[in-house]
Point group: C2
Chain length 421, copies 2
């Protein structure tokens, strides 16, 4: 049997370290040239497979591939596209097989979160369902940290380090200003369903260096009076307060704070953030001067302050994914298993994809403090190793990070055009 | 004559490197123990002098003072408080003299921007006007980069590095997502009057690594149709676009974009940012999916990605300030003079405070590209050395920066209480 080629693609919202996983996949494939031929990357995730828009990663130099380790975002392009079930969209599965056959693809590595795990699971089954044998492995990635089984998700540690550091720095700032100016700083962070990133904000305060921070989790219904009381008390005690609010925070009736009745000049609903809503509330009800920030993409793109643990784990899951595939495991995901907390030790284990896809892991109740505005020691113990260590990118002389620049040479097409609906 | 003590205070919005100036002042004073006694820091700027709320910096260890070099924000507390003229508020000047006399203060170092230069200038004149001889030196600081005479302002280089890097990283992110999701990313940056910080966003794109970025400067009146056309063209060519919008951008009639008719549920004007206004415009008029961020305090507090040039200049201006004072210069400010661009060389020179106070330096027209949405090569040549080099803080084992923690021991009071009006 001739050597099979591999397909690799990135899916969903990107992270500061998803390319470190790509680096792990490609470098490991290159080490096994006896078993794996070329690595073709899908341009824009599974869309690249469907449209036969493949990038020949073999055209990239060794140093470019190595540079992926410290380059944020999805170097090959990502997508928000979930394959429907075989029954609903047989056409797409048949097309995948057409493209895979044409390019002799026997390995499928899909790098993404929960939705992408579902896509990967479906692809892993086309051997059985449609008679095209392929080994499909899902490489975990999500800043939301909401995949099950794995102790944590590559991508999360770096956004957590960014948010913890930024909350600390901005809190120092408001502490400097509070005597005569701003008293409350509000930072909105990602996390529509799970409060993991918001929890990282609370890490800025420690026993040795207490900082007044009120965290608003999507897991906790927003109670305005209780919240304002908490802020008021912190301001009274410390002179200032920081608020870290998850974008997914909602009122008891389920409406997001971010959609609380803001209208623009034309009467359209203003798709604003939760931060300005909280900030205005603080001014209206407490009469306190505020500043607010919305970190948005900055947080998940901030490779300049990536967590070393996170980079290592992102690489390791990519590497393990290839090793699992070579060992013949189909429909699995390399998961991170925490072996010990102190010293922090972890290893990679196999998780069956069927147990990963479409399952969201929320913050456990034991991680949220009793008042609902902070984190417990258990949560600290969990988070701390994930944000530990620095892993700086190199910089150019112009003062900017020297991120990878890929040639992205397209693989010549062999199939007919295909339109993604 | 007995040795005189020194007073040091921080004023206005803080920066990532104002404490590096404090470090320069205090370490240099400590080196001249024969001439300068103690360094008393005003708690919360000039307010600390008026209320006799002084911090004895001699109680801080050598290593704590050294740590100020890499600690963001104002370690001694800042203030937004401008002394009125002597005619309007003689009471405060007399009070300053009372406190200075009581604590044998003969040197006054004030670390701030344009308004603070005015306060420092007024203090420098109380020798003549009220017969209390004091040597007053202004140490420049402002992220806005709008002080005259000095080539650039300590604090600006670091925020510029943060914005350039963040714009680059977030642009990589949206480039990854644009095939099926977000096509425009909007980042709001500081700068109510001057577009220096917004200009830094344009630095993310270079000849070797072109990134589609549209910059909105406060110096350029906002023309909606022209702006939307520019974004549309970039999206057509690149598939995506980043917009860096200064908080001070305004309509041709002078209204800020940020106050364009947003109302909350109660009909109050929503004090939102410019970014959501731009983002909604892009959705309404171009039908493109967007993300937006507001960097706010994060940008000026981000010591974790400070510019090395900036840290060095912040320290150097603090050091030079003390040396000027010791040489008998009153009412001056150490200014940065660019000696050459390539290689970048600079030195510190004396600027008369009377020419600094209350003068704002805007972006020169020659720095803004013809279409009004970018920067010229001249601007690049100016900005590049300012964001060059990294100067990382040390980190704790918990993954967070190890910033200075001061004891801030209060100097025993000798005067009667005084109420700041």
């Amino acid at each position: 049997m001739s050597k099979m080629n591999a397909f690799y693609a990135q899916s969903g919202g990107v992270t500061a370290v998803i390319n470190a996983s790509a680096c792990g996949v490609i470098e490991t494939c290159r080490k096994h040239k006896d078993k794996i031929g070329k690595v073709y990357a899908g341009r824009n995730g599974i869309i690249g497979a469907l449209t036969e828009d493949l990038i020949d990663t073999n055209k990239e130099t060794k140093s470019t591939i190595a540079a992926l380790r410290y380059t944020p975002s999805g170097a090959f392009g990502s997508c928000r596209y979930k394959l429907k079930s075989l029954e609903q969209n047989k056409r797409e599965y048949e097309r995948l097989i057409e493209v895979f056959k044409a390019h002799n693809i026997g390995y499928f590595f899909y790098n993404g979160g929960g939705d992408s795990a579902d896509t990967c699971l479906k692809v892993s089954q086309i051997g059985k369902t449609l008679g095209y044998p392929i080994t499909a492995v899902h490489i975990p990635k999500t800043v939301d940290n909401d995949l099950p089984i794995t102790d944590n998700c590559p991508g999360f540690g770096s956004v957590a380090k960014y948010i913890a550091t930024s909350t600390m720095e901005a809190s120092y700032d408001v502490a400097s200003m509070c005597a005569t100016s701003t008293k409350v700083f509000v930072l909105e962070v990602m996390g529509r369903h799970a409060g993991w990133i918001a929890a990282a904000g609370a890490m800025a305060s420690t026993k040795d260096n207490e900082i007044p921070i009120v965290v608003l989790f999507p897991e906790v219904k927003f109670r305005q009076a209780k919240f304002l009381k908490a802020v008021k008390e912190k301001v009274k005690k410390f002179g200032y307060c920081s608020v870290v609010v998850s974008e997914g925070v909602h009122w008891p009736d389920g409406r997001f704070l971010a959609e609380t009745g803001l209208k623009d000049a034309f009467g359209h609903s203003q798709l604003g953030g939760a931060a300005p809503v909280i900030a205005n509330m603080i001014q209206d009800k407490l009469g306190l001067k505020y500043h607010w920030a919305v970190a948005d993409y900055l947080q998940r793109a901030a490779r300049h302050i990536a967590s070393k643990s996170d980079v290592e784990q992102a690489y390791a899951t990519g590497k393990a994914g290839v090793e699992y595939a070579l060992a013949g495991y189909n429909s699995v995901m390399p998961a991170i298993k925490r072996v010990s907390n102190s010293p922090y030790k972890w290893k990679i284990t196999k998780a069956p994809l069927s147990k990963v896809a479409n399952v969201e892991k929320m913050m456990p109740a034991s991680f949220i403090s009793k008042d609902g505005f902070g984190i417990t020691q258990r949560c600290r113990n969990y988070l701390e190793p994930l944000i530990r260590g620095e892993d700086y990118p190199p910089y150019n002389k112009n003062g900017l990070p020297k991120y990878a620049q890929l040639k992205k040479v397209a693989v010549p097409k062999k199939c007919k055009p295909f339109k993604v609906k």
